[in-house]
Amino acid sequence: MGEISTIHYLVVAAALFAIGTIGVLTRRNVVIILMSIELILNAVNLNLVAFSRMHGQLPGQVFSIFIITDAAAEAAVGLGILIAFFRNKETINADEVDLLKW
Protein backbone atom coordinates (compact mmCIF):
# COMPACT_ATOMS: atom_id res chain seq x y z
CA MET A 1 0.00 0.00 0.00
CA GLY A 2 2.87 2.28 0.72
CA GLU A 3 2.37 5.89 1.66
CA ILE A 4 -1.20 6.97 2.41
CA SER A 5 -2.24 9.62 -0.10
CA THR A 6 -5.35 11.62 -0.89
CA ILE A 7 -6.90 8.88 -2.98
CA HIS A 8 -7.15 6.53 0.00
CA TYR A 9 -9.28 9.02 1.88
CA LEU A 10 -11.38 9.63 -1.20
CA VAL A 11 -12.10 5.93 -1.58
CA VAL A 12 -13.31 5.74 2.03
CA ALA A 13 -15.58 8.70 1.26
CA ALA A 14 -16.81 7.01 -1.91
CA ALA A 15 -17.65 3.89 0.08
CA LEU A 16 -19.63 5.93 2.61
CA PHE A 17 -21.42 7.70 -0.24
CA ALA A 18 -22.33 4.40 -1.89
CA ILE A 19 -23.51 2.81 1.36
CA GLY A 20 -25.60 5.88 2.13
CA THR A 21 -27.16 5.89 -1.33
CA ILE A 22 -28.06 2.22 -1.12
CA GLY A 23 -29.47 2.79 2.35
CA VAL A 24 -31.78 5.55 1.14
CA LEU A 25 -32.95 3.44 -1.77
CA THR A 26 -33.50 0.14 0.04
CA ARG A 27 -34.47 0.74 3.66
CA ARG A 28 -38.06 1.36 4.70
CA ASN A 29 -37.60 2.88 8.13
CA VAL A 30 -37.57 6.66 7.77
CA VAL A 31 -35.15 7.17 10.67
CA ILE A 32 -32.65 4.87 8.96
CA ILE A 33 -33.15 6.68 5.66
CA LEU A 34 -32.29 9.91 7.49
CA MET A 35 -29.16 8.29 8.92
CA SER A 36 -28.18 7.14 5.43
CA ILE A 37 -28.47 10.73 4.26
CA GLU A 38 -26.15 11.69 7.13
CA LEU A 39 -23.68 9.11 5.79
CA ILE A 40 -23.74 10.85 2.41
CA LEU A 41 -23.10 14.22 4.05
CA ASN A 42 -20.19 12.72 5.98
CA ALA A 43 -18.75 11.36 2.75
CA VAL A 44 -18.92 14.88 1.32
CA ASN A 45 -17.13 16.25 4.37
CA LEU A 46 -14.34 13.70 4.15
CA ASN A 47 -13.93 14.54 0.48
CA LEU A 48 -13.75 18.24 1.23
CA VAL A 49 -11.24 17.89 4.03
CA ALA A 50 -9.03 15.56 1.99
CA PHE A 51 -9.12 17.82 -1.07
CA SER A 52 -8.53 20.79 1.18
CA ARG A 53 -5.30 19.20 2.36
CA MET A 54 -4.34 18.19 -1.15
CA HIS A 55 -4.77 21.67 -2.60
CA GLY A 56 -3.56 23.48 0.49
CA GLN A 57 -6.84 25.43 0.36
CA LEU A 58 -8.58 26.03 3.67
CA PRO A 59 -12.05 26.87 2.20
CA GLY A 60 -12.68 23.13 1.89
CA GLN A 61 -12.59 22.79 5.67
CA VAL A 62 -14.77 25.85 6.11
CA PHE A 63 -17.27 24.34 3.68
CA SER A 64 -17.40 21.16 5.74
CA ILE A 65 -18.23 23.20 8.85
CA PHE A 66 -21.16 24.76 7.00
CA ILE A 67 -22.30 21.30 5.96
CA ILE A 68 -22.24 20.08 9.56
CA THR A 69 -24.34 23.10 10.56
CA ASP A 70 -26.79 22.38 7.79
CA ALA A 71 -26.96 18.73 8.79
CA ALA A 72 -28.05 19.83 12.24
CA ALA A 73 -30.77 22.07 10.81
CA GLU A 74 -31.89 19.35 8.45
CA ALA A 75 -32.02 16.74 11.20
CA ALA A 76 -34.13 19.02 13.40
CA VAL A 77 -36.62 19.71 10.63
CA GLY A 78 -36.63 16.11 9.45
CA LEU A 79 -37.40 14.72 12.85
CA GLY A 80 -40.09 17.40 13.28
CA ILE A 81 -41.68 16.34 10.01
CA LEU A 82 -41.40 12.72 11.12
CA ILE A 83 -43.21 13.44 14.39
CA ALA A 84 -45.98 15.29 12.54
CA PHE A 85 -46.26 12.36 10.18
CA PHE A 86 -46.27 9.84 13.01
CA ARG A 87 -49.18 11.65 14.67
CA ASN A 88 -51.21 11.19 11.52
CA LYS A 89 -50.25 7.68 10.59
CA GLU A 90 -48.67 5.86 13.55
CA THR A 91 -45.94 4.42 11.37
CA ILE A 92 -42.45 5.40 10.34
CA ASN A 93 -42.09 3.02 7.44
CA ALA A 94 -41.56 4.72 4.16
CA ASP A 95 -43.53 2.28 2.05
CA GLU A 96 -46.55 2.84 4.22
CA VAL A 97 -46.38 6.36 2.91
CA ASP A 98 -49.08 5.28 0.56
CA LEU A 99 -51.87 7.82 0.54
CA LEU A 100 -49.77 9.33 -2.17
CA LYS A 101 -48.15 6.74 -4.36
CA TRP A 102 -44.47 6.30 -3.44
Binding site: A18, R28, I32, M35, E38, I68, A76, G80, I92
Partner: protein, 163 residues
Protein backbone atom coordinates in the same frame (compact mmCIF):
# COMPACT_ATOMS: atom_id res chain seq x y z
CA UNK B 1 4.20 4.51 9.20
CA UNK B 2 2.10 5.56 12.14
CA UNK B 3 -0.17 7.41 9.74
CA UNK B 4 -0.66 4.29 7.60
CA UNK B 5 -1.55 2.06 10.54
CA UNK B 6 -3.99 4.56 12.03
CA UNK B 7 -5.55 5.24 8.67
CA UNK B 8 -6.13 1.55 7.96
CA UNK B 9 -7.63 0.90 11.40
CA UNK B 10 -10.05 3.80 11.34
CA UNK B 11 -10.96 3.55 7.67
CA UNK B 12 -11.91 -0.08 8.18
CA UNK B 13 -13.84 0.69 11.37
CA UNK B 14 -15.64 3.54 9.64
CA UNK B 15 -16.75 1.53 6.62
CA UNK B 16 -17.62 -1.52 8.71
CA UNK B 17 -19.77 0.60 11.02
CA UNK B 18 -21.49 2.16 8.01
CA UNK B 19 -22.31 -1.29 6.65
CA UNK B 20 -23.50 -2.34 10.08
CA UNK B 21 -25.81 0.68 10.13
CA UNK B 22 -27.69 -0.81 7.21
CA UNK B 23 -27.44 -4.39 8.38
CA UNK B 24 -29.03 -3.72 11.77
CA UNK B 25 -32.77 -4.00 12.01
CA UNK B 26 -33.34 -1.96 15.14
CA UNK B 27 -32.95 1.81 14.68
CA UNK B 28 -31.11 2.22 17.99
CA UNK B 29 -28.36 -0.15 16.83
CA UNK B 30 -28.12 1.77 13.59
CA UNK B 31 -27.83 5.05 15.49
CA UNK B 32 -24.99 3.64 17.59
CA UNK B 33 -23.22 2.46 14.43
CA UNK B 34 -23.58 5.93 13.01
CA UNK B 35 -21.89 7.33 16.10
CA UNK B 36 -18.97 4.97 15.49
CA UNK B 37 -18.80 6.21 11.89
CA UNK B 38 -18.72 9.80 13.09
CA UNK B 39 -16.07 9.07 15.69
CA UNK B 40 -13.73 7.29 13.32
CA UNK B 41 -14.24 10.02 10.75
CA UNK B 42 -13.16 12.55 13.36
CA UNK B 43 -9.92 10.58 13.71
CA UNK B 44 -9.44 10.58 9.97
CA UNK B 45 -9.88 14.37 10.06
CA UNK B 46 -7.18 14.55 12.72
CA UNK B 47 -4.88 12.49 10.51
CA UNK B 48 -5.55 15.00 7.74
CA UNK B 49 -4.60 17.81 10.07
CA UNK B 50 -8.10 19.24 10.29
CA UNK B 51 -8.25 19.58 14.05
CA UNK B 52 -11.06 22.07 14.16
CA UNK B 53 -13.32 20.03 11.88
CA UNK B 54 -12.56 16.96 13.97
CA UNK B 55 -13.67 18.76 17.12
CA UNK B 56 -16.81 20.11 15.45
CA UNK B 57 -17.55 16.64 14.14
CA UNK B 58 -17.51 15.19 17.64
CA UNK B 59 -19.33 18.05 19.34
CA UNK B 60 -22.07 18.69 16.80
CA UNK B 61 -22.43 15.49 14.85
CA UNK B 62 -21.78 12.81 17.40
CA UNK B 63 -22.93 15.03 20.27
CA UNK B 64 -25.92 17.06 19.19
CA UNK B 65 -27.32 15.50 16.05
CA UNK B 66 -27.07 11.91 17.20
CA UNK B 67 -28.72 12.75 20.52
CA UNK B 68 -31.59 14.15 18.48
CA UNK B 69 -31.80 10.92 16.53
CA UNK B 70 -31.70 8.68 19.56
CA UNK B 71 -34.26 10.87 21.28
CA UNK B 72 -36.65 10.65 18.35
CA UNK B 73 -36.25 6.90 18.08
CA UNK B 74 -37.17 6.60 21.75
CA UNK B 75 -40.02 9.09 21.42
CA UNK B 76 -41.60 7.35 18.48
CA UNK B 77 -40.89 4.01 20.09
CA UNK B 78 -39.69 2.65 16.81
CA UNK B 79 -39.45 -1.11 16.85
CA UNK B 80 -37.67 -3.56 14.61
CA UNK B 81 -38.43 -3.29 10.97
CA UNK B 82 -39.72 -6.46 9.38
CA UNK B 83 -38.09 -7.18 6.10
CA UNK B 84 -40.55 -7.26 3.26
CA UNK B 85 -39.93 -9.33 0.19
CA UNK B 86 -38.89 -6.29 -1.81
CA UNK B 87 -36.32 -5.28 0.80
CA UNK B 88 -34.71 -8.75 0.62
CA UNK B 89 -34.44 -8.34 -3.13
CA UNK B 90 -32.98 -4.90 -2.47
CA UNK B 91 -30.29 -6.38 -0.24
CA UNK B 92 -29.36 -8.93 -2.90
CA UNK B 93 -28.90 -6.14 -5.42
CA UNK B 94 -27.67 -3.58 -2.92
CA UNK B 95 -24.34 -5.20 -2.10
CA UNK B 96 -23.13 -5.49 -5.71
CA UNK B 97 -24.47 -2.00 -6.33
CA UNK B 98 -22.29 -0.57 -3.56
CA UNK B 99 -19.30 -2.37 -5.03
CA UNK B 100 -20.01 -1.02 -8.51
CA UNK B 101 -20.51 2.57 -7.31
CA UNK B 102 -17.33 2.49 -5.23
CA UNK B 103 -15.33 0.99 -8.09
CA UNK B 104 -16.62 3.58 -10.57
CA UNK B 105 -15.99 6.47 -8.19
CA UNK B 106 -12.56 5.13 -7.26
CA UNK B 107 -11.65 4.92 -10.92
CA UNK B 108 -12.78 8.48 -11.61
CA UNK B 109 -11.12 9.77 -8.44
CA UNK B 110 -7.83 8.07 -9.18
CA UNK B 111 -7.87 9.47 -12.71
CA UNK B 112 -8.76 12.91 -11.42
CA UNK B 113 -6.84 13.27 -8.19
CA UNK B 114 -4.24 10.62 -8.89
CA UNK B 115 -1.88 9.71 -6.15
CA UNK B 116 -1.34 13.33 -5.24
CA UNK B 117 0.49 13.59 -1.95
CA UNK B 118 -1.41 14.81 1.05
CA UNK B 119 0.28 18.18 1.01
CA UNK B 120 1.41 20.19 3.96
CA UNK B 121 -0.52 21.03 7.05
CA UNK B 122 -2.58 24.07 6.21
CA UNK B 123 -3.76 25.67 9.36
CA UNK B 124 -5.70 25.36 12.54
CA UNK B 125 -8.60 27.09 14.23
CA UNK B 126 -6.98 30.51 13.96
CA UNK B 127 -6.79 30.45 10.18
CA UNK B 128 -10.25 28.92 9.91
CA UNK B 129 -11.66 31.60 12.17
CA UNK B 130 -10.11 34.32 10.07
CA UNK B 131 -11.61 32.80 6.94
CA UNK B 132 -14.99 32.24 8.53
CA UNK B 133 -15.40 35.77 9.82
CA UNK B 134 -13.93 37.56 6.84
CA UNK B 135 -14.22 35.88 3.45
CA UNK B 136 -17.11 33.69 4.49
CA UNK B 137 -18.82 36.29 6.65
CA UNK B 138 -21.94 36.42 4.50
CA UNK B 139 -22.60 32.65 4.39
CA UNK B 140 -21.90 32.59 8.11
CA UNK B 141 -24.53 35.24 8.80
CA UNK B 142 -26.98 33.74 6.34
CA UNK B 143 -26.69 30.43 8.17
CA UNK B 144 -28.53 32.13 11.04
CA UNK B 145 -31.58 32.43 8.78
CA UNK B 146 -31.27 28.73 8.02
CA UNK B 147 -31.18 27.84 11.69
CA UNK B 148 -34.07 30.18 12.47
CA UNK B 149 -36.15 28.43 9.82
CA UNK B 150 -35.18 25.03 11.18
CA UNK B 151 -36.20 25.99 14.73
CA UNK B 152 -39.46 27.46 13.55
CA UNK B 153 -40.16 24.46 11.35
CA UNK B 154 -39.48 21.94 14.08
CA UNK B 155 -41.75 23.86 16.48
CA UNK B 156 -44.57 24.33 13.98
CA UNK B 157 -44.55 20.73 12.81
CA UNK B 158 -43.99 18.91 16.07
CA UNK B 159 -46.29 21.01 18.26
CA UNK B 160 -49.47 19.35 19.33
CA UNK B 161 -52.53 20.78 17.67
CA UNK B 162 -54.71 22.86 19.98
CA UNK B 163 -58.32 22.29 19.09
Amino acid sequence: MMHTVLFIIFAVVCVAAAINLLAQRHPINSALSLIVVMGSLALLYLLLGAEFVAAVQIIIYAGAIMVLFVFTIMLLNAGEEELSKSSRVAIVFGVPAVAVIVAALAYILSRGAGTAALGDFIGGPKEIGRLLFRDFLLPFEVTSVLILIAIMGAVVLARREER
